[in-house]
């Protein structure tokens, strides 16, 4: 099963990378802008969000190609958020995925604009998604609404605002959970739910996918906090101990490494429970959730 999952991930990652390349290579735009967009977009990464969309859509009979525009829209939004979060006026990070951040290479103005362009391009892809015959405009519109709400003021952007507001102060567990539910959880929820929406899943299944994604996102975030303390900078591609230096609350400062790990495992268990009604067909989403607390980067 493990080998099968790794093959699945490698294949989907390759499809996503090829599509991201295709969706940006032909842009009729200033070459330095396109270069900056692609520098960050094609910098590797696990492509978790697009693969979650694909895997969820496969549960309801679609194939990767049917949801590729929406899947890549998610990755563009994730990438733009990293570019803007790394800016000197925000988290002021020099390294991302082991390479200099976008503004370090292209300058601040270009980094702001490359982020803006990726965010905008994501919604151009959502419009393309409507042209896929097995999807159609009505489902594409609903998925676009889901994405916009998850990515905007009521979701990811709002989460980043709250995160900045808590810097240097100690958030408690409910506050920390709320910040992460918005900053990283909302996009995971949108990723999984969009797969279902594009495939025409029923409301009950969409609710189930949403709860799965909420637990998934929580496990992911807790594990990130653990890796910040225990991780290998060469693997994570960012400085270890960064959260502590920023005097930020994390699941590790609240519960210790072992307590945080236990909470991550518990979140994965809750995620897996939501998949039970899908039976064997849910094996990819199951393996994805398990892989979150298995990773070293």
């Amino acid at each position: 099963m493990r080998g099968e999952f790794q093959q699945y991930m490698a294949a989907r990652r390759q499809q996503v990378e090829a599509a991201l390349d295709r969706y940006t290579a032909g842009l009729d735009a200033p070459s330095r802008l396109v270069e900056a967009m692609r520098y960050s977009l094609l910098a590797g990464g696990k492509r978790l969000r697009p693969i979650l969309t694909i895997a969820a859509s496969e549960l309801f009979g679609l194939e990767a190609a049917d949801v590729m525009p929406g899947a890549c829209a998610l990755e563009m939004i994730h990438t733009y958020s990293l570019i803007h979060d790394d800016l000197p006026c925000m988290d002021d990070d020099d390294l991302r995925r082991g390479r200099p951040t976008c503004h370090k290479v292209y300058g601040e103005a270009m980094a702001v604009l490359a982020g803006d362009a990726l965010l905008t391009q994501a919604f151009a892809l959502m419009a393309e998604q409507a042209a896929v015959p097995r999807v159609g405009p009505a489902r594409a519109v609903r998925a676009a609404a889901e994405l916009a709400h998850a990515a905007g003021a009521e979701g990811m952007v709002g989460g980043q605002v709250e995160d900045l507001a808590w810097e240097g102060r100690q958030a408690d567990e409910p506050q920390l959970r709320r910040i992460h539910s918005l900053k990283t959880g909302a996009l995971f929820r949108a990723a999984v739910r969009m797969g279902g929406i594009l495939a025409g899943a029923g409301e009950e299944d969409l609710d189930r996918l949403g709860r799965y994604a909420t637990h998934f996102g929580l496990a992911f975030q807790i594990w990130d906090d653990v890796l910040d303390v225990t991780g290998d900078a060469a693997l994570t591609g960012k400085g270890v101990g960064r959260d502590a230096r920023l005097d930020k609350s994390t699941y590790v400062t609240l519960h210790g490494v072992e307590g945080a790990r236990e909470r991550a495992y518990q979140a994965v268990r809750l995620a897996l429970e939501e998949l039970e009604p899908f039976g064997g067909a849910g094996w990819v989403l199951r393996a994805l959730a398990e892989s979150v607390v298995d990773r070293v980067a």
Copy 2:
């Protein structure tokens, strides 16, 4: 006619302001973020882009309420672009519409995020646009594609990149025209064409509306350059002579004030020609084009 037009504009502006207020007042998001978004969004302004969308849609039998989400999406994108363009790493402006710019009031991080949130919210509105019975998902998707392409790397964002690249160097007329066609023209074209698309106009009429908007945008930009030299800072809300200090090419540096004025009038004449087939029904778009070279701010 002039009185009738002014009444029309005042009524539409009021409808747009009320909708912008409604679309942002209830956001479930950090209050300071919503405040920063609304500070820039509700700062007055002519609301030209949304009114162009409304006027174009009225030509084909729709009413303002039918296209209000799309019209307000345009204004949100226009506003986000002003917030980001004003940032220290871009044009570094302290004043906009006679008030301190967003980052001067809320700080740079919040200004970046307020812009991101407005851009994202614009596409949430495009999804809402699909729910309007007289529009429907297929037309809303096409309008959203038009908006995304006009606003992104191939349009407005690309234009800002080119504009920054030419700072301190003297662009010639074709280069200047290209910059402005992207930086401001693309969104005007999208505004007018979206009105037609949402109302189900035929391809020939959409092409005509696109050409009208191209001439409109050119006249608008030339007149801005004229106002930068001859304008009253108290009315324009920004420093006079700013372009010259930045050593930027403008239509005035290329052709002098009188030569620039003559080119603006010529662009308006070309815009009006495109409206001839619409007869009397085109009166609002006609008056809008004429008003561009009549304004003092």
